[in-house]
Subunit: 491 residues, 2 copies
């Protein structure tokens, strides 16, 4: 391998190790090896990361150099570490193992086999609607094929369709306020890359959407987590803690705040309008841009009363709204969008020449067709499916894992479950080789906390729920010993 | 506008101003205003950039504060600057004006009107092949629609088709060495984001591909430009200066080197195998990853003898190859790829959850179908078109602008023309309001040089060439006075 590994400094590795799941190994070198192995498996120490020299790590951990050397040697023998004279040692995965088991990374369908994937929360496409829209889009293609096919802000018909849908939802919008992106993450990434600098303070929800937290952390933002309020405990849906939000915005004056008010990911919370207004007022005072991620907003499968979109309550035009077709239409289209002032849309569009230049034309035509001509049917189709899964999952959990606690949301794509004190990181590691992928709580935290929580997706078919929960229960029973050993560390 | 403008420091702005095209304004404040306006129009000072306070800029430029204040006031009155008490002043564009006139940013077809676009080098889709492939892809869609549609490494049939095409071209490749990306820029960006750190030294060609240079500069790379060798002057195609490459790799030990050896953008140079071998040997010694951008490699419209792909000559597996379907198939598909060792492919795929997650499925199926079943026909179709344009363009330039010099390449998508001493930045600015977009030389430089050069695309229809060159000549005649005034500064 050539000379371009990323590196981890001894203090940074010491911090990561402090947050690694506990192990039952008794000797120091085995404990260190087990923790490093688990960081690599969980994707927290990316494959190809150069580790500190033995002497340096020993100093940082106040261990003997021999301990570190023996741990490294043990990892090398298992395939988790590779070394070369003069180049140091870097993390690896044993031959034949799957990519780092961060269960939030999608496994492509053809590789998933008998896997029960409770990591990724994504639906199959609503058929026959997708196929019909695709056929119509192909008919329209010749009109676009005479040009170079690059639309930095998006194909006009889709910008119009998205603007119309915002307007229908109570947020008057014109097409020049819309930027079509290659999925919602692309929109978040474009915002981050264009408008945030390394070291900027950014307020986030705790728990928060894993990939948003991961993106911001990787790009050097200083995250200020604002915990959700849980006045009803784990059996009630949380709310925003608006007092804490006001305190944080006033005190830290973060450049941006990232929130998911419409069926919050991962808890499913639906924030009421009054709380939205309070947050916007505080953000106006502190000069904070509020980035509203509406990815789950169309998944209102359990309510017929949605609050107004957050940006509709924003009198200072300081809100940027991100949306996605991936949940309600199909993830394979990779269509997302960003709504903001036209001047900002133009600026972001210009920045795209350094990434994807634009989003593919055909998928935009398909999304436009679905939004314009089939949205009610598609919504009904996807909502029915998710509602069935949600109720089946709630019933199965109450029967099979009766000590676990959760609140059934009124929409969104996941259930946030409080296990009775398990290390869900350890659970996920145990489950993975058994063909069960789990999204452990700490993926949704900025600081390795939330160990006892698990996010379960409402996107698997209802008739697979029973089997999935049975597998989950089996893994849990097997992990009982570990879980006990762990509990103390979690409180 | 909220509080998230980027800023430019007084010394950085002074450097930018030193590189701005000359102006004929006689008073100091008008000169400063004209230069600032031109930096904004050319996109070198992005819209929304906060300018230094008047006093600070006056100091940096050794001008009076009144001069700077009057220039700012003049720009404000024209709409190029906005100010707010306590927030300073930031760059803007007058109402109704088009986005920054960087001609390398695509103008979507529906907005281009009567524009003659010699900025972007992109072809229309090859019909009827694209339409046929799209119809076939829609037939295959139901098999994919049952899954979540997310393929971080790419849909298997396309990975296989790309691997086969590499193998056909003399570079044996397996599908697990292929990552499908949303266009070639996405691949370059993913490489940069994953494997380069701010401050890393990166060697680039001079001239080089504008968006690659722009990406690397924005992300904080320290660019080390290596000039192409021009032993035959402007009427012969350049080569690599392998002695200079060896010296730079040995001396600077850059982390990566970005090259376009197959019909280099912008010069059209086709690097011979022996030079590729020499560069690879030097890179192996210095531990430099060679990133080979093969975007134009299938555009061999003027030769039937292509050198082996660079990676086929690389015995140390330290090459990363980037390719694109945007030029030979269609830009509206947004399909690109990256070829590397499987371990690196997996690592890059994992990083994609923070940007586009994956590339849309349908476009991948279309590209796979075209590569597998229609590549010879599509190549013949696009090659005939580009060959016709290239010959028409060469003839029109020789007739209408006989003092301009160029070498006709044997492939690729552009002609690199030495004007007789014009400031092409000034030419582009004059041309833009007249409906003619030009890509000035400094866009392909790291340091504002290459003013007298112009990149002309071989992608417009042959029957529009005469009109385009006539417009170009008209603009040039009008700019004659300015050009004279400029020449001294260029040599």
């Amino acid at each position: 391998m050539a000379d371009w590994q990323s590196t981890v400094t001894p203090p940074a590795l010491a911090r990561l190790l402090a947050g690694a799941p506990p192990t039952e190994e008794r000797t120091a070198y085995r404990r260190l090896a087990a923790q490093l192995r688990s960081l690599v498996s969980a994707g927290r120490l990316p494959v190809g990361t150069r580790l500190p020299a033995e002497r340096e790590l020993a100093q940082a951990l106040t261990l003997s150099r021999t301990t570190v050397a023996t741990a490294y040697e043990s990892l090398r023998s298992e395939g988790y570490l590779r070394s070369r004279r003069g180049s140091g040692s870097w993390t690896a995965l044993p031959e034949g193992s799957r990519p780092p088991g961060d269960a939030l990374h999608p496994v492509p369908p053809h590789e998933s086999g008998h896997l029960v994937d409770l990591g990724v929360a994504s639906l199959p496409a609503p058929q026959p609607y997708l196929g019909e829209a695709a056929a119509r889009a192909v008919e329209q293609l010749p009109a676009y094929a005479t040009g170079h096919g690059q639309y930095p802000t998006g194909v006009p018909v889709l910008r119009e369709a998205i603007a119309r849908r915002f307007t229908e939802r109570g947020l008057p919008t014109t097409p020049d306020q819309i930027l079509v992106t290659t999925g919602a993450m692309s929109a978040l990434h474009l915002f981050q890359r264009t408008l945030l600098n390394r070291g900027d303070r950014v307020a986030v929800e705790a728990p928060g959407y894993a990939h948003t937290l991961g993106l911001l952390q990787r790009e050097g933002a200083r995250l200020v987590p604002v915990p959700l309020a849980r006045p009803g405990g784990d059996t009630a849906l949380p709310r925003w803690d608006t007092e804490e939000w006001s305190r944080v915005l006033r005190g830290a004056a973060p450049r941006a705040a990232f929130v998911v008010p419409d069926f919050h990911n991962p808890t499913g919370a639906l924030i009421e309008e009054e709380q939205r207004r309070t947050l916007l007022a505080a953000a106006r005072t502190s000069g904070t841009v509020v980035v509203v991620d509406e990815t789950p907003a169309e998944l209102d499968w359990g309510t017929d009363r949605m609050p107004l979109p957050t940006a509709a309550l924003d009198r200072a035009a300081q809100t940027v709204t991100v949306g996605s077709a991936s949940k309600i239409l199909w993830g394979g289209l990779r269509i997302g969008w960003l709504r903001a002032q036209p001047a900002l849309i133009r600026r972001l569009a210009a920045e795209r020449v350094y990434t994807d230049v634009g989003t593919p034309v055909l998928d935009q035509l398909i999304a436009a067709h679905l939004l314009d001509h089939a949205l009610p049917e598609v919504r009904a189709h996807q909502h029915a499916r998710m509602r069935d899964t949600a109720h089946a999952l709630a019933a199965a959990l109450r029967t099979q894992l009766p000590t676990w606690q959760f609140a059934l949301p009124r929409g969104g794509l996941c259930l946030w479950v409080a296990t009775d004190g398990h290390s869900t990181t350890a659970l996920a590691e145990t489950a993975d080789p058994q063909g069960l992928r789990l999204a452990p709580g700490p993926s949704f935290a900025t600081d390795g906390t939330l160990e006892p929580y698990l996010r379960l997706p409402l996107t698997i078919p209802a008739d697979q729920v029973e089997d999935a929960v049975t597998r989950l229960r089996t893994v849990t029973m097997g992990a009982r010993g570990t879980a006990r050993a762990t509990r103390g560390a979690l409180t």
